[in-house]
């Protein structure tokens, strides 16, 4: 379920183009499946969904925690060669990820 002060982004890892952002009124969920996690984003248009699937081997998938007054915590998910599917009927994008790196940008040079 969507939570306050949090967003999910899917970007093209080479060009940095934004492909999907939950701030566009989308809902999302994270479902652990053994060592993998299924990320489902619903409300995605057919063109957006096709673009993500077409770039499935070059995705940067993020979840940003943005607490009021606190540091941003970024979660980056590695997709690798796991399934990336889009169902036009439901408008849902399903991205299976295999690992996560959590980082705080303020702990690095910025």
């Amino acid at each position: 379920m969507m939570m306050q002060q949090e967003r999910v982004l899917v970007k093209h890892s080479v060009t940095g183009r934004m492909l999907v952002s939950s701030t566009d009124g989308l809902t999302y969920s994270f479902d652990p499946q053994g060592e993998l996690t299924l990320i489902t984003v619903c409300g995605v248009g057919a063109e957006q969904g096709a673009a993500v699937v077409g770039l499935r081997s070059e995705l940067n998938v993020f979840r940003f925690e943005e607490p009021a007054g606190g540091p941003v915590i970024k979660h980056w998910y590695y997709v690798g060669d796991n399934p990336v599917e889009y169902d036009a009927a439901s408008g849902c994008l399903k991205i299976t990820v295999q690992s996560e790196i959590q980082y705080r940008p303020d702990e690095y040079w910025e």
């Binding site: 060009t15 060669d81 690992s99 980082y103």
Partner: protein, 233 residues
């Protein structure tokens, strides 16, 4: 076949703190017909203002090479690596299953100019790694010096792809010779000077050439020249 891309055709950008050009689709420049040359995906000629740079961001399944042409470039990553390089230094990050890094210009007075090059790796999903190396700039004179290749040596940084990056200098009237093996590609980027290709096309700074099916490449310097050549599968 030799296809020349002029500096004017590359994506020139000026973000104030960051200026330069993208030879391939990158950032807000997207040309679906110019996304790759073999495994090569990115050739950015970046100049970063003093004290500025790229904050923490991720990469995966990409071999990323940074060649500093002037100034200093500082790298930090979540693997614990911290390094600074100047001209003669090479940074290579194998992003594999994921790495977070920053790159910035640590100088308070001098810009840093670097070439950043991205290549798809031979194998996806490997463990991330980072390394640096250093070549002797004096050895660039009159030859194409290998500085990045599949096999590491004292002066060559290793990369997880069947490829070699060369740098070379030539004075006006000098020639640089490169034998292209059958089925290979060569990417040439002119950093300084003027260089005539074997089909008589002339490269100026910022121009690049993508070459296939041309066995012997005679590169004739028409001015004092610094060039990068990359042999690719």
């Amino acid at each position: 076949m030799i296809k020349v891309y002029s500096a004017e055709s590359a994506h020139q950008f000026d973000h104030g703190w960051l200026k330069g050009s993208h030879s391939f689709s990158f950032g807000d420049f997207y040309d679906p017909d110019n996304t790759a040359f073999g495994p090569m995906r990115v050739c950015n000629d970046d100049t970063i203002s003093p004290g500025r740079g790229f904050g923490a961001h991720p990469h995966s399944d990409m071999e990323i090479v940074s060649i500093v042409l002037s100034g200093r470039l500082r790298h930090e990553d979540n693997l614990g690596n911290v390094a600074e390089t100047t001209f003669g230094g090479i940074q290579r990050m194998s992003a594999g299953t994921g790495a977070i890094h920053t790159e910035h210009n640590p100088s308070d007075s001098e810009p840093v100019r670097l070439l950043q090059l991205w290549f798809m790796p031979r194998t996806r999903g490997t463990a991330p790694s980072y390394t640096t190396g250093r070549f002797d700039p004096a050895k660039l004179e009159g030859r194409l010096l290998p500085v990045v290749a599949a096999e590491r040596t004292a002066e060559i940084v290793d990369i997880a792809q069947d490829m070699t990056i060369y740098l070379g200098r030539a004075g006006a009237g000098q020639e640089l010779n490169f034998q292209q093996a059958p089925g290979r590609r060569v990417f040439i980027y002119l950093i300084e000077g003027q260089l005539k290709l074997p089909d008589d096309q002339v490269l100026s700074p910022g121009d690049s050439a993508r070459i296939e099916e041309w066995s012997e490449l005679l590169l004739a310097a028409e001015a004092d020249t610094l060039v990068m050549a990359i042999d690719l599968p």
